[in-house]
Amino acid sequence: METLISILVGILVTVAVYLLLSRNLIRVILGTAVLSHAAHLLLITMGGLKKGSAPLLGEGAESYTDALPQALILTAIVISFAVTALLLVLAYRTYKKTATDDLQALRGFEDE
C-alpha cells in the first residue's frame, strides 16, 4: 500500500508541477490545490498505513495508527483551503485590474 501511494503521490506532484509552470492563472491555482493533495497523502504515508485502529482511545484497540501525521494534515488542509481562497481572490482582482489571466502578459515593468 505504501509503495502504491508513494507512486500516486509522485504522479500527483508531476501533474501539480506541470500545472504550476503553465501561463494561465487558474491552472496555477489548480496546481497548488493538487500539490497540497499530494502533500497530505505523502504525510500520512510516512506514518505507516493501516498499522492499527483509528487513533481514538475509546476503541480500546491494542495499537493505533500514528496520530501525529493526522494532526499535521488536519492543520494543513485548513491552511491550504485558506491559501486557495486567497489565491482565487488575487486572481480575480488581477483579472479585474489588468483584464488578463496570462502570467506572461502580467510581467512587471522593466523600470520598476
Binding site: 500500500m1 505504501e2 509503495t3 502504491l4 508513494s6 503521490v9 509522485g10 504522479i11 500527483l12 506532484v13 508531476t14 501533474v15 509552470l21 501561463r23 494561465n24 492563472l25 487558474i26 491552472r27 490545490a33 493538487v34 493533495h37 497530505h40 500520512i44 504515508t45 510516512m46 506514518g47 505507516g48 498505513l49 493501516k50 498499522k51 485502529s53 483509528a54 487513533p55 481514538l56 482511545l57 475509546g58 495508527t65 496520530a67 501525529l68 493526522q70 494532526a71 488536519l74 492543520t75 488542509i77 485548513v78 491552511i79 483551503f81 485558506a82 491559501v83 486557495t84 486567497l86 481572490v89 488575487l90 480575480y92 482582482r93 479585474k96 489571466d101 502570467l103 502580467l106 510581467r107
Partner: protein
Amino acid sequence: MLTITLSIFIPFLAAIFIPFLYKRIGRHIGWFVIIVPIALFILLASFIPSIANGETYEHTIRWIDSAGIHFTTYLDGLSLIFGLLITGVGSLVILYSIFYLSERESLGRFYVYLLLFMGAMLGVVFSDNLMVLYVFWELTSISSFLLIAFWYHRKKSRYGAQKSMLITVSGGIAMLAGFLMLQFLTGSFSVREIIATIGQYTDEPLFLFAMLLVLLGAFTKSAQFPFHIWLPDAMEAPTPVSAYLHSATMVKAGIYLVARFTPIFGTEMSWLYIVSGGGIFTLFWGSFNAVKQTDLKALLAYSTISQLGLIMSLIGLGSAALNQGADANSILYAQATFAALFHLVNHSTFKGALFMVVGIVDHELGTRDIRRLGGLMAFMPVTFTIALIGSFSMAGLPPFNGFLSKEMFFDALVNARNFDLFDASTIGILFLVVAWIASVFTFVYSMIIVFQTFFGELHIEKLEKQSTREASIGMLIAPSILAVLVVGIFFFPNIIGNYLLRPAMNAVYPTLAGAEGLAPKIYAWHGFESVALWMTVGVVVVGTILYKTLRYWKGIYTVAPMKWSLDSVYNALLETLENGSSFLTRFYMRGYLKDYLVYIFSFFIVSVGAAILLTGSYSFDFSNNAPISLNEYLIVFAMIVAAISILLVKSRKTAMILNGVLGYSIAFLFVVFRAPDLALTQAVVETVTTALFLLAFYFLPEWKKEDSPIRTKVFNGLIAISVGTIVTVLALTVQGNKMFESISSYFEDSYNLAGGKNIVNTILGDFRAFDTMLEVVVLFIAGIGVYTLIKLKVQKEGRDYED
C-alpha cells in the same frame, strides 16, 4: 535598582500613548511630553549624592540564559553624566520645540520619534549587556533616521536621513561583530565581567580585531573623520532635533562607548594612537571646514564634528594612564579624560544654546545664510547675548566654561609630550601644533557666528520674512537656561567636578579609582607660567588677524584638491552599489512567475536528487507494506486517471470537477487509513473549495488553450516528471530506512496527559496547541486578506514630495 530599568522604558511607554493623546489635545501635546524628561531628570539627579559617594546600582532581569543575554542595567558615574545630559537637554529641547514647531506639523509623530530616541539613548548608556546595548544603539540610529526625515517631502531630508542611517548602522554592525569577538574571548556579554577578565586575553589576535571593529562603531556614530560626512547632511532635521541628537546626545554615544571601553582596550598601544590621532585630525578637519560654510547650521555641524574630535582625542590620550602601568605620571595622564568629560558637558551647554539661536534666526527671518544676515543685534538683543555667550565659550574665552576645558585640553597635550611612547620631538609636538591650529580656526568660525550675523548692516530685503522682532519668550527660555549654565559652570566648575566628573573618572579607571588627584580641582587661573594660557593668547591674536583677513585667504578653499570631497566618494560608492545590485537582481528576477518556479524546482531536483544519489541511501524495503484490497486499487487508479486528465481537458469546469474527484478520493483513502477526523474535514473542505472555485469562475474568463511552443512544453514536462520521480523515490527511501523510533506512542497516553480520548484532537488542542493557534491566526489573516483585496479600493494619492 529597578528604577533605572524603568527609566529606560518610561519614554517608550509614553511614546505609545502619544498618538491617542495627540488626537485629544492636539497642539498642546508638547506640554505632556515634557513631563517625561523632566521627571526622569529629577529622578536621575536624586542619584547624584550616592553616586558621588562611590556607590553603583545594578539591576538584572534574566532573559536568555543559554546565550548569556540579560537585561542588566548599571548606573555609575559615567552613565549618570550621560543620563543627565539626555534627560536635561531633552527637557530643554522639548520646551524649545513647543514654540519652534508650528502646530500644522504632525507633532504626534515628532514627539513619538523623540521619545523613542530618548528611551533608546538611555538604554545605550545604562545597559551593561553588550547585546542589549547594541539593540538600543541601532535604535538610536533608526530614530535619528526618522527625525532627520521628519520633513520627508524634501529631497535633501531623505538624502541626509539615508546617509546617516547607512553610515551609522554599518558602523553599528561592525561594532556588533566586535562585541561577538569579545564574547568569544571572554565568554561574557557583560561589560563589567569583560573588564575584570580581559587582562588574560590581550595577546589574542582577535583582541585587536575586536578593538578595531568597536572603534568603527564609535567613530561612525560620533562622526569622526572620515565618517563625519553624514553629520552636515543630518542638519536637514528640524533644529530642535539637531540640537538634541546631532550635537548633545546621540553623536556622543560613540564617545561614551570609547570611554566605557577604555578599561578593556586602553592597555593597547594602538588604541591610544587611533583614538587620539583620529580625534586630533577630526578636530582640525572639522574646524578648518567650518570656516568656509555659509549656512549657519552647516557651520555648527562642522564645529560639532571638530569638538567631538577634541573630546575623542582627549579620551585617547587619557588611556595612556593605563599604558604606563603604575607609573607616577599615570594620574597626570588620566586627567586628559577628566578634561574630556568636562568638555563633553560644556559642549552640550554652549552648542545646544547656539543651535537654538540659529533655530530662532531661521524661525524669525526665514534664512540661515550668513551672506544675507547681518545687524540682527538691533532688534534681537536677547538672542544676540546668548549667541555671544555660546560662541565665546566655544572659542575658549573667559569667563565661559569653554575656556576652562580648552585650557585643560592644552595642558593634556603639553603633558602628552612626556609620554615615553611618543617621540617627544615629533609626534608630541605635531599633536600640539595641529590642536593649536584647529583652535585658531575654531576661534575664527566662532567670531563668524557672532559678527557676521549680529553686527554689520541689516539687509532686510534679502530676508525671507521681513520681520524685525525678537523671538517669543517661550523660545528664548531654553537657550537662556543653557547660557546661564555656560557662565555658571565657569564660576563654579568644581561642583560639576566633584559630583559628576569624579565618579565618572572612577568608572573609566577602575584600577585607579579613588586615587588622589584623579579628579583635580578646576582652576581658571594657572598663573603666567602656564603654557596653556599663552597658547590661548596666541589663538586669540592669530585668530583675530585671520578673521580680519578672511576674505584674502578664503581662496584656499576653492583650490582644486579641496573640492574633491569625501561626499563624492560616498555618492559614487552608493551609486555603484545600487547599480551593481540592480544589475544582479535583474539578471535573475525576470518578472515571470514561471522562471521563479523553475529555479525552485531545479534546485529541488539537483539538491535532493544529488543527496539521494551521493549518499546512496536509496534502499527500498517493501516488506512492511500494508495489504491492498481491490477497491483501493480502483480508487488509486481512478485518481491517477483524474490527475492526468486535468492536464488534457478543454474546459476549466471539468478540470475543477476532476480536482474534486481527487479531493473526495483522498477523503475516502483517509477512511481506509483509519483517519476519521481527516476524512470528515477533507470532505467538507472539498465541498467549500468547489463552491469557491465556482464563484471565482463566474468572474474569470474561460481558459484558453496553451499556445506555448512544443519546446517549452517538453521542458516543463521534464521538470514536472523529474520532481515527481524524486518525490516518489524520496518517499520510498524514507519507508526503507527507519532510523528512529516513532515518537507517536507518547501521544497514546493522551487520556492521562490531556484528558481526551481522540488522540488527533488532543495533539491539536493540547500537545501542539501552539501550531493550532498560529494556524487560526493564519486563517484569520487569509480571511482579512480576502476581504481587503475585494473591498479596499486604493485611492490615487497625490505625490506631494520632491523627487
